[in-house]
Symmetry: C2
Subunit: 447 residues, 2 copies
C-alpha cells in the first residue's frame, strides 16, 4: 500500500513587474506567482504537484490556506484518495470552518484548487496517464460523479449531464486522432501588455504573425486615446481578417464599459474581455446587449460554478474563460464545461500567468474529446512566458497546443526554480532582486 | 502629531462547538472566532480595534491577510488616516496584488473589513464619538464620499445617493431622540440552534418570551421530520401573532428549497433565510417566486456590494442581511444601506457570532437616522452570547438595542480574553480545552 506521507508548500514569486510583463489597466505591477504544493508518498519517485496562480502579495495567504486544506490527506492511502476523486474533493471541501471564509471563493477556494490539482497530478501519474487521457478514459457517468454538480440542479441535473456526455462518447477516439494531427488552436496575449511601448508591441505582434497566429489580444482601459492608437496599430498589422481581442481587466463600471467600447468599435474588435467587475452577472448581460455585435468574454476571475451557472442563465457572456487555478481543480471545471456544452457556449480558458498553459491544455482536450465535442469558436489563450520553470512545459506548434504524453497534470516545477524563486528567501529574491532594484533606480533597466 | 505606530493581530477562538452553540444544518461544529487586529498609536491610551468573524480553522488565513493589508497604515499620520476614511479605504483596497485573490471577497476582503473596522474605531475615538454618531454628524455628501460606490453606477450614482440622503437630513435629530427613548427592535436566534434538544429549545424560547421577544428564529434543513416537529413547538409557544423566522444556512439547491419550504408553509413562517448558496442571485429570485408569500432573507454571506446590487436588481430577497465583518467595514456597508433605501428593502443585519451585535448596533442606528429613515420591518438580530469578552458590550433592553455612548466602534475586547482564547497558545486552548475533551470523551459534558 502507498500512503500520502507529507506535503511541502512554496510561496513562489517571479519578478515580472520589472519588465511590465503581464501589466494591464488593473494590474500594473504584478509579480506572477504561485502558491505551490507537493504531495509526497512513500512510493519512491511518486509525488503530486499542484498550485494556484497569484500575482505577488497574497501568495502567503494562499500558502496558509493550503496548509489548512491539505491536512486530511496526510496519512491517507493513495488508492483511497485517487480512486474516487469526486469523493476526495468533497471530503476536502466539507470543512465547514474553512467554508465560512468563502464559501467557494477567495483564498480557501484557491487552496482547494491547488491541493486538488496536486491530487489529480498524483492520480494520473499513478495511472500512468496524462490528466486529459485519464479523464477521457472515464465513462460519462464517472466524469459526472467526479464533477462538482452541487447547487446546479436548477440548470442541469447529474442525470441530464450523463445523457449529454453519452452522446459524445462514440466519437472520442476520432477526436483524439484529430488533436494528434492538428492540435488545439490558440491565440496570444504576449504582445499586448499595457506597460509595453508601441515599438515593443509592434515587434511582438510581428513575432506572433511570423509564428502563424493572426489572433491578437490587447489590454485596454488605461486611456481612450492610447487605446485608439494601439488598436489602430494592431488592426493594421493583423489585417481585416485577423481577430482583435480586447481586455479591460475589470476597470470599468457598466455605463463606462458601454461608452468606451463605442469608441473602439471602429477597429472591429472580436470580443471585450472583463469589461467590468467579475461578480457582476447582470452588469455583463447589460454590457453585452449594449455593445453588440462585439462579443463579451469573461471568467478568469469567475470564482466558482455558481457564478458561471448564472452568467449562462443571464446571457452575460459569449465566451466562458475558466481559470484552472481559480475554479477548484478539474472537479469544478468539469461542471462548468458540462453547463457550457449544454448551452453551446465556447469555453476559452484563461492562460498565461505561471503554469496556466500547462494546466489548461488538459482541460481543452477533455472538453473537445468528451464534453463539447467541437472546436468551433474555441480559442485557448497562450503566452510564451515562464514555461522554463516547468518539468514538462506545454508544446505549441503552428499556433496550436499539442497533446502532452507524460503522466500527470504537467504541473511539476523544476527544483532549481523552487529554490531560486521562493519568497523571500530564495536565491533570486535574496541576492539578485536587490541588484535589479538598484539598477532600476539608476535608470539602467532595459525594456 | 499622532502616528499609527504598530499593530498586533490575534487568532481568537471560542470553544462554542463544545455545547453546539451556533450549530446549524451547514455548520455543525463551529468554534466562533475572530481575526482581531489592534492599531496602536503614539498617543497614550489611543488604539483602534477591529476584527472579522470566523468559525475556527481559517482564522489563521485571515490573520495572514490582515498582516498584508495593514502595512500601508504603519507610520501614517493619524489625522491623515482618519480625516478622509473613503480615501484610506481606497488606498488599502488599491493593492492589486491582494485584489487578485479576491477581488472583493474571501480572506483579503475579510481582512479589509477587519483593518478598516479598526480604523473606524480609531477615527471615532479620536473624535470622541461612537461610530453611529460620528457618521450621523457627517453631511450627506461626506457620507457618500466615504461609501464605496465603485461598480454601482448602473444602480445609483454618487449624486443620486447624495440627493437621497439629503431628503433624510432634516429629521435626523428627531430620530435620534426616538432611539434614545425606544431603542431599535431586535429578534433572537439564541433558542433555535440545530444541535439543541427540544427541551433546551423550549426552555430558551420561554426565556425569550419572558424577556418580551415574540420573534424567534429556528435553524432548519437537517431533516424535514425534525423541522416539522420543531416548528410546531415554536409556533405553539409564540402564538399565531409571533414571527417565526427559519434559517437553512445554504444547505439546499433551488428545487429542494422550494419543495422543503412547501412542507413548512403550514407553520406560517415569516421568512426563510439562506435557502441556498449565497452567490446564487438568480436562484434566490426563483425560490422567492416559488414560495411566496413566505419571504426570503439573505446576505450574511453576501460577499460584497456588487452581489447585493444584483440581489436587489433581480428581486432575490425581501430582507437584506448585511454582515459587518464580511462587507468591508462601514465604507461598503454604507453603499449597501444606500442602495437598499432607494429600493425600499429593509436591512436586517446578521449578528451573533463574536462581536457582531456590538458592531451592527452602530449600523442600524446610522441606517435609521440618516439613510432609510424608517423602522418598518427592520429587525436586528441579537444573540446573548460572548458579550462578556467586550470592553463595552451592547445593551439590549425590552427587546431593543440601546444607543451606545462610548467613543469608537464598541469593537475592543478585554485583555484577559485575548490572552485566554488566542489559538493555539492561549490559556484556554493550552490548559483547559484538553480537559474538556477528556471529560467529553468520558461522557461527562452537560447540555
Amino acid at each position: 500500500m502507498t500512503r500520502i506521507t507529507q506535503y511541502d508548500v512554496y510561496d513562489l514569486r517571479f519578478p515580472t513587474s520589472v519588465h511590465a510583463d503581464g501589466s494591464d489597466a488593473m494590474n500594473k505591477d504584478g509579480d506572477h506567482s504561485a502558491a505551490y504544493v507537493t504531495l509526497r508518498t512513500d512510493r519512491p519517485g511518486l509525488e503530486g504537484h499542484g498550485f494556484t496562480f497569484t500575482i505577488g502579495r497574497g501568495t502567503d495567504v494562499c500558502v496558509q490556506a493550503i496548509r489548512d486544506r491539505v491536512q486530511p490527506l496526510l496519512g491517507m492511502d493513495l488508492d483511497e484518495a485517487t480512486r474516487d476523486l469526486g469523493g476526495t474533493y468533497r471530503m476536502l471541501a466539507s470543512d465547514t470552518q474553512l467554508r465560512w471564509i468563502g464559501p467557494d471563493k477567495g483564498a480557501v477556494h484557491l487552496a482547494q484548487a491547488a491541493v486538488m490539482n496536486a491530487v489529480w497530478d498524483l492520480a494520473a501519474k499513478a495511472a500512468g496517464k496524462p490528466v486529459w487521457e485519464f479523464v477521457t478514459d472515464m465513462s460519462s457517468e464517472e466524469i459526472v460523479d467526479t464533477a462538482d454538480m452541487s447547487y446546479l440542479a436548477d440548470e442541469i441535473t447529474p442525470a441530464e449531464a450523463v445523457a449529454l456526455l453519452e452522446e459524445q462518447e462514440p466519437r472520442r477516439a476520432e477526436r483524439i486522432a484529430h488533436l494528434e494531427e492538428h492540435g488545439f488552436p490558440c491565440y496570444s496575449t504576449a504582445a499586448g501588455w499595457l506597460g509595453y511601448s508601441d515599438e515593443k508591441m509592434r515587434r511582438l505582434i510581428r513575432k506572433e504573425l511570423d509564428a502563424g497566429t493572426r489572433n491578437i489580444k490587447l489590454k485596454v482601459g488605461g486611456s481612450v486615446e492610447d487605446d485608439i492608437r494601439r488598436c489602430g496599430i494592431a488592426r493594421e498589422m493583423i489585417g481585416p481578417e485577423g481577430r482583435l481581442m480586447l481586455d479591460a481587466n475589470q476597470v470599468w463600471d457598466v455605463p463606462t464599459a458601454i461608452e468606451w467600447m463605442g469608441e473602439l468599435a471602429r477597429f472591429d474588435p472580436y470580443w471585450i474581455e472583463e469589461p467590468t467587475h467579475p461578480d457582476d452577472i447582470l452588469g455583463h448581460a447589460r454590457i453585452r446587449e449594449g455593445i453588440a455585435p462585439i462579443k463579451v468574454a469573461t471568467g478568469e476571475h469567475g470564482m466558482n460554478r455558481i457564478l458561471h451557472k448564472q452568467m449562462m442563465q443571464a446571457g452575460s457572456y459569449d465566451f466562458c474563460q475558466i481559470d484552472a487555478c481559480r475554479l477548484a481543480s478539474v472537479n469544478e471545471v468539469l461542471a462548468v464545461l458540462i453547463m457550457a456544452a449544454r448551452r453551446g457556449i465556447p469555453v476559452c480558458p484563461h492562460a498565461g500567468g505561471v503554469g496556466l498553459c500547462e494546466l489548461i491544455q488538459h482541460l481543452i482536450f477533455i472538453d473537445y474529446v468528451a464534453i463539447s465535442g467541437t472546436l468551433d469558436n474555441h480559442y485557448a489563450e497562450y503566452i510564451d512566458h515562464l514555461h522554463e520553470h516547468f518539468l514538462e512545459p506545454c508544446v505549441v506548434r503552428d499556433g496550436s497546443y499539442r497533446l502532452p504524453r507524460a503522466p500527470g497534470y504537467s504541473s511539476g516545477m523544476r527544483a532549481r526554480s523552487l529554490a531560486d524563486y521562493s519568497f523571500p528567501d530564495g536565491r533570486y529574491w535574496a541576492e539578485e532582486h536587490p541588484k535589479v532594484l538598484a539598477a532600476r533606480a539608476a535608470g539602467r533597466v532595459d525594456e
